[in-house]
Amino acid sequence: MINPKQSQKIVFFILLLLSIIVLVPVALIIIIIVKEGISVINFEFLFTAPKNGMRAGGIFPAIIGTFYLAIGTTIISLPLGIFAGIYLSEYAKDNIFTKIINLGIINLAGVPSIVYGLFGLSLFVIYLKFGVSLLSGCLTLAIMSLPAIITSTRTALQSVPQSFREVSLSLGATKWQTIRYAVLPHALPGIITGIVLSNARITGETAPILFTVSAFYLTRLPNSIYDQVMALPYHLYVISTQIPGISKNITYGTALVLIVLTLSLNLFGIILRIYLRHKKKW
């Protein structure tokens, strides 16, 4: 009969093991990709276009495409998301209507990425006739990023003390002036963290861009928002599943670039959040 203290020790040890198992794969995945892919990384790989049916050359167009997608998505989702967050934090009352809005946000967050792809195809590509383009892709990805931006904005705003608002109002400010000058500036760091993390997610998404923007092989870089682009995650998918005879290292190298991009954005966001939490002045 094991006494409770001993069974606690055993159980805690098992929990520790299991926790390690959760975290070890992160390290493993990163290590494997770095090990196999690093040999391919050089200037040519990063800054020139692919050759020979993707089997040689670089992935520059995919990098640029991913970059454009991120910027375009942020431009669309940022104002929309921030204003929505402002509404929820500063204007919405505690009633059924607000509950429904929150339900909407949660559902948007839960829609599978491939369903976003279908939606983007139906609304932007076909109905609005934007075609398979940067525009369609960015619009689709922007709606996908909304829940994250809205919730991080709302949280950041709610953490600004109510007393700031009261001081501003009692000096004769209107509600919007109060938000704009006494609340928003102090919520900005939290909002920026939200954007960074949202972008980190966008750069890695494949499913939503499959039918809305992605091209496999483009001979020139995009000139307008109506053009298709190549993107890193899609590129990785295609070369690892559909190009026979491609050098393993090139595939790993592409994965490496993608993972460096997403993980460093994520790391930046996480560190930013921790730093800001410690730096809070009130």
Partner: protein, 288 residues
């Protein structure tokens, strides 16, 4: 003038505020717009219960049962792995680990969530799949099992982070009361804390399920894509998500296959909607 400007801004803010509802409705509408036409070809009953998904055959068959079973099987496998491990990790972070390391561990888990699904699919494809093939002596390692294992890693961060929130939210006085009565830390955990946090943990699990069912790229690259009802975890399967992703590219717009894929999309939307609703109901219990 100032008043006018402010009035316009506040109206804009309101519009953005309701945008989440607008977009959910929009998504549903535009899915249905294309998918509803499918009902011309196939009845709902045939669609959901039909055992054969042969869209390219002549005449084509559009039963999604094998796809549903595929999704469910992979999800089930992923949850069997990720639930115990996820809750264990959440417990460890919330209750046991030295608080100095809490931030570090939570960041580690977040980093796991940050790995794009296509990368997970790729790594799984080149490492896990051959491994499974060799260990079980199979014709191919592209199986539901491989998919479940990789997807478990995608569900775990969600489960860990939300379960950890739920466990941390249990009022300290419950814990203190149990300890004061002489319980060990572990006894307190499983008799008091886990019970109190169970609605939140349930919500975490539901959200994990939602994440896995909706996952596309990783499954597409590892589960084999055979649209047949599987009899074990060691067979290739096809999920609802992978079907859409793999076949839409080659479908002619306006063909019955095209509409069928939208119908699959609607099915997915409804399934995840329900899961999210359940999760939301239970996570509200964390707050009360």
């Amino acid at each position: 003038m100032k008043k006018l400007k402010e009035f316009i801004i506040e109206k804009l803010i309101f519009l953005c505020g309701i945008s989440s509802i607008i977009f959910v409705i929009l998504i549903f509408v535009f899915l249905v717009k294309e998918g509803i036409i499918f009902l011309k070809y196939v009845s709902i009953k045939e669609f959901i219960i039909g055992k054969n998904w042969y869209p390219l055959a002549n005449p084509p068959q559009f039963g999604i049962l094998p796809l549903i079973v595929g999704s469910l099987l992979v999800t089930l496998g992923a949850m069997i792995i990720s639930i115990p491990m996820g809750i264990a990790c959440a417990l460890y972070i919330a209750e046991i680990v030295n608080p100095k390391f809490k931030d570090l561990l939570k960041s580690g888990v977040e980093l796991l969530a940050a790995i794009p699904s296509v990368v997970i699919g790729f790594v799984g494809m080149v490492t896990l799949v051959p491994l499974v093939k060799n260990i079980f002596n199979l014709p191919t390692g592209l199986t539901a099992l491989s998919g479940s294992i990789m997807l478990a890693f995608m569900a775990m961060p969600t489960i860990v982070s939300i379960a950890e929130d739920a466990i941390t939210a249990v009022p300290k006085r419950y814990k203190e009361a149990a300890l004061a009565l002489g319980a060990t830390h572990w006894q307190t955990i499983y008799k008091v804390i886990l019970v109190a946090a169970s609605p939140g943990i349930f919500a975490a699990v539901m959200l994990g399920v939602g994440r896995v069912i909706g996952e596309t790229m990783a499954v597409m690259m590892i589960t084999g894509n055979a649209a047949l009802i599987p009899h074990s975890f060691l067979q290739p399967v096809r999920t609802l998500t992978a079907t859409i992703a793999a076949e839409m590219g080659e479908t002619v717009r306006g063909s019955d296959h095209y509409y069928a894929l939208f119908a699959v999309g609607i099915t997915l939307f409804i399934i995840t909607f329900i899961i999210n609703l359940i999760a939301e109901i239970y996570s509200n219990k964390i707050k009360t």
